[in-house]
Subunit: 623 residues, 2 copies
């Protein structure tokens, strides 16, 4: 049981509306907020006012109440009430898992159910820092649960270790600044007393960015931004919103929606990831074709660094004032400071939204179609092409909607026999589509895209399949926890690559994964699958899933890491980038020099050495 | 007469096709060029194989053979054969100039006709550098004409001084590298022997970027990129082109057009400005609504610095690999190195192009219309709104197309009486439009935009007026030289600003200019005019023209500088940026700290100190 104490506000991401609705922008704004501005108080919640760790898993993905499990009948179900899939039986999942991985419900690898606090090192507290911190009134904790919760992201090795109850280096202290000025105070104190600060947003990193460097001897303070989560104002004249960086995606969109707006930024992690995290990692969203990626969305950024606050003086839409310092901040992955406030572009909510799907005879035709859609610059809000394995996987996740049980294979057969005669079930693949905007334009646009698809042998496969594909996006991450209950481990990773290398990279990386697994003694062929998940003028984003049954291996995580490493080498050799949007963290540091050249590394280092000479922001990411 | 010598290739921007068509990308490319790639040899020319300074003015804008003058009949004409306006009489121009500025054809201020070579300081040559340079075979010159030609951009004070025959600090040597490897050699030698290198592309800077710092005691070497101007390959699969950075806009587009492609990057300076210059200054193009600004167009950049070559390893369309080092390069304004090669996105040439124009009752309605077009994200390739003064100015530039002489005022009266009853001729303003793309889509798009315009009182005013507006873009710069023949000096400057400040900034800056001129003793009210020249989601680019009659002032350039300074202060106070696309150079350095904050300055400085610790790239821009 976590130790509450009266003077610690046990906050989870909910902001009580006790603060004045309108606030000056750091006191520096000399003109009154524009009459077109709607000041808001964000009443946001990830929960019903419960601490994060009481509603989220401490050793897995997402909400505690939502998980895949096999019930007493041996059927897969998804618990809870938060998702469309919640409370439903998924009849095909077991068969799919068994056939894909050679998994067996008898072979269990359960996680440690609760955190053993005594496995957590006592905190290394910097007393001088703590003393001054107390006088600021900023909430803090050195409670084991709070520290462990903020000690990790969601890389496989991190979750695997937690499930085994293995706790490595964790933050010594957690602090919850309430606003920009609190962050300024914390950073000043950290510099004064030489503590290591690690900004913590949504905790969804998959680049080992949040791992505490084991060699760090100073006190590590996790700076949790969740309480700085207000929309400070909405500016309807300029279609911008000024937002505190601790806000999470779902709250940002929900609050803007109340005023008829949205940012449209919808990374797969949006239920939990924060605005500050997006800026720090150069995040990308599902609907970037309409709304842009984070670099297209931000108009103004404020970051607190050891040298002081960095911010531009102007909110102009585009400038030539030397190298763009926003681009020194974006992608800095917590190594330079804490992003506190961001002005983002907003758009009126779309009038109309329509999903869709297209079945292609094979992956090559699908890719050619996506390339043509990109060439004609007529991509929908989202267009994603999954390979054959993912198509099958998607079927496996169909919930039971009637009393008639349809086996996975039967359902699959039925799908292709009735609708897609002549399509080889082991080659066909599916693209999911999302259109949004003005209804008339959407329908025109839809026709244009389906016409192009037809030229590549694509057949429309209905809105349902499209919508389901997107809904699954948010539950996929929960599946890994299920796998990990039955000897199956896996990860996703991604890249961006020029168009002419897409097919090669998909084929070669998937084949390399299979080869490496075999070499390393994996007993059952792995799941090695991909999808083209974003299109650009000059290339695409490709997303890989890789998972395998580790039964019989003495060091499964090590095998996993070797295979992932080889996969990344294969990606790079095939002209793919180090990352499209996940970032570098500590996981991919070794390739940085090759990626941006020695001079590029030197530039990043020189900025780091200037901004943070004592490595206060010592998460050791990137460099 | 300039001194030729046999071993100097007197090159002007023309590349003789004696080099192999296909070249390895720096020898590092391990895969063969893709079969879809069309290798090209660029046969480009700014001239008929004559040296730049023999076809371009040494003390004014553009081509020597093209200029405005008043003929024996006192009529304005535009000489030469290069432009649509060439060889034509412009009947209204004289009247407009006389009434707008109180100018008088009797009051002449002619320029020094030729360069007085003895006014040029003898070169400070670094003999050790020169000796090693000679052994490389790279062409060079220390001829006075070559040096003076590359000693300036096109700020008013620079041209004014040249017209008076006043020559300040100029480069001591000019070198013409032929390719990336030549640049590597030059930079190595410069570092070894401590000479100051100033990259020189098209020479169109209007930020004093090309001025040689008078305090520079080392030998200054102008690195003229004009001979590195090939398109190395066109990649039709990825729709990219790999281009040497010395290519100028008109040649790049013409060459790509031959293969059915374009970049669509059309800055007003495109006849002369270079790809490397665009990268260095964060250039913007007229049709950025379709093609993007330079940061949207580049996929890969290679730059030679004192620390070595900086380049990414990958041509992926978008990445998260830390802060984007391309953005350390873009906007560095020649302070870090020489951009040598760039991969740019290309597009198929548009099928169809259509101009248009709309007359609005007043500027406010016009701005509101542009704002709504931006809000609906349906801007044409280009949409520009000029104020009433520019509308009148546009009329003054109408060539005589028939034998019937129509006075300026008559023509104006006729225009508004016949077409735009009820419009106040002293308030109405005009937007020019350019649509391009698929013909059907263009016509649909056009309808949408005119429908919006109608809601703001806008009336379609025909294709001709639109087309003429854009044609005039390329001759406007020649007008300043005419003005300067008759006591009139002036400049353009620009900013970017949020939508809600557009009207204020236009009104306040124009008024401030008028006030300042009066205060400083300018005898005749100035021309103070603006246009909204680009639209964005969150704001617009506003372009100002400012000119006045300086007769009676003892130090006209000083008065000009004071007024310009005040105008920029007014822009900043009204929420405008330091620059949308012209850049900072030396002209706007004083506001950099305020613009990007001290921490931002420190970041730029730290990069500079790392990349170029001995200030080899010593143009003193930005910092």
């Amino acid at each position: 049981m976590s130790g509450f104490s009266d003077n610690i506000m046990r906050l989870s991401g909910r902001m009580l509306s006790q603060y004045p609705a309108q606030r000056d922008w750091d006191g520096k704004l000399t003109r009154a907020p524009h009459p077109g501005i709607i000041p808001t108080c964000s009443i946001v919640t990830l929960s019903d006012n419960l601490p994060k760790q009481e509603i989220m898993k401490w050793n897995g993905w997402g909400y505690s109440d939502s998980k895949f499990l096999y019930n007493k009948k041996g059927q897969a179900e998804f618990t809870g009430k938060r998702y469309r899939l919640s409370g439903m039986i998924i009849p095909g999942l077991r068969e799919w898992m068994e056939s894909t991985f050679g998994a067996n419900l008898q072979h269990k690898t359960p996680a440690a159910p609760i955190l053993n606090s005594s496995a957590v090192q006592p905190p290394t507290l910097n007393e001088a820092f703590l003393k001054e911190l107390k006088s600021t009134g900023i909430p803090f904790s050195h409670d084991a649960e709070d520290r462990v919760f903020r000690s990790h992201g969601h890389c496989l090795h991190e979750i695997f270790a937690l499930r085994e109850g293995k706790i490595g280096r964790v933050p010594d202290l957690v602090v919850w600044p309430n606003c920009h000025n609190d962050v300024v105070k914390i950073v000043e104190l950290a510099c004064k007393h030489n503590v290591c600060l690690m900004p913590y947003g949504g905790g969804t990193s998959v680049s080992s960015a949040l791992e505490c460097p084991p060699e760090e001897t100073r006190s590590i303070v996790s700076l949790d931004t969740s309480q700085m989560n207000r929309i400070l104002w909405i500016d309807e004249k300029n279609l911008t919103a000024h937002v505190e960086a601790g806000i999470v995606g779902q709250d940002l969109e929900r609050l803007l929606n109340e005023s008829g707006y949205c940012t449209g930024h919808e990374p797969d992690s949006m239920e939990f990831s924060s605005l500050g995290g997006w800026v720090a990692t150069r995040a990308s969203g599902m609907k970037k074709n309409i709304y842009g990626n984070i670099e297209d969305l931000v108009v103004h950024i404020k970051m607190v660094t050891p040298q002081g606050v960095i911010e531009k003086s102007c909110q102009g839409p585009r400038m030539s004032t030397g190298p763009d310092v926003h681009h020194f901040i974006m992608g800095s992955e917590g190594t330079l400071g804490v992003v506190t406030e961001v002005t983002m572009k907003i758009r009126p909510m779309p009038e109309y939204q329509k999903y869709g799907s297209v079945v292609f005879p094979n992956f090559e035709m699908g890719v050619a179609c996506l390339r043509e859609v990109a060439r004609q610059r007529c991509a929908p809000a989202s267009i994603r092409l999954m390979d054959n394995e993912q198509f099958k996987f998607g079927h496996a996740l169909k919930p039971q909607v009637s009393s008639i049980f349809t086996s996975f294979l039967d359902g699959l057969k039925k799908f292709y026999i009735t609708k897609f005669k002549g399509f080889d079930p082991n080659r066909l693949c599916v693209a999911t589509l999302l259109f949004e905007g003005d209804r008339e334009k959407v329908l025109q646009h839809e026709k244009q895209v389906y016409d192009i698809a037809a030229k590549f042998g694509g057949l429309a496969a209905g809105e349902d399949n499209g919508q389901r594909g997107y809904m699954l996006t948010f539950v996929i991450a929960y599946l890994r926890d299920l796998g990990m209950d039955y000897y199956v481990i896996g990860e996703s990773f991604e890249t961006s690559v020029p168009w002419d290398r897409v097919l090669d990279i998909c084929r070669n990386v998937k084949a390399r994964i299979v080869r490496e697994c075999k070499d390393k003694g994996v007993q059952f062929p792995p799941l090695s699958t991909c999808r083209v998940t974003q299109t650009y003028d000059a290339g695409a984003c490709v997303y890989f899933y890789f998972a395998f049954n580790y039964r019989g291996l003495s060091d499964p995580v090590h095998v996993y890491e070797q295979v992932e490493h080889a996969a990344r080498e294969e990606i790079l050799a095939n002209g793919g980038s180090l990352s499209h949007h996940h970032g570098v963290g500590k996981l991919r540091k070794e390739w940085m020099r090759e990626t941006i050249s020695s001079v590029g590394m030197g530039m990043l280092k020189s900025v780091k050495d200037y901004v943070d000479p004592n490595n206060i922001f010592g998460n050791r990411n990137l460099l």
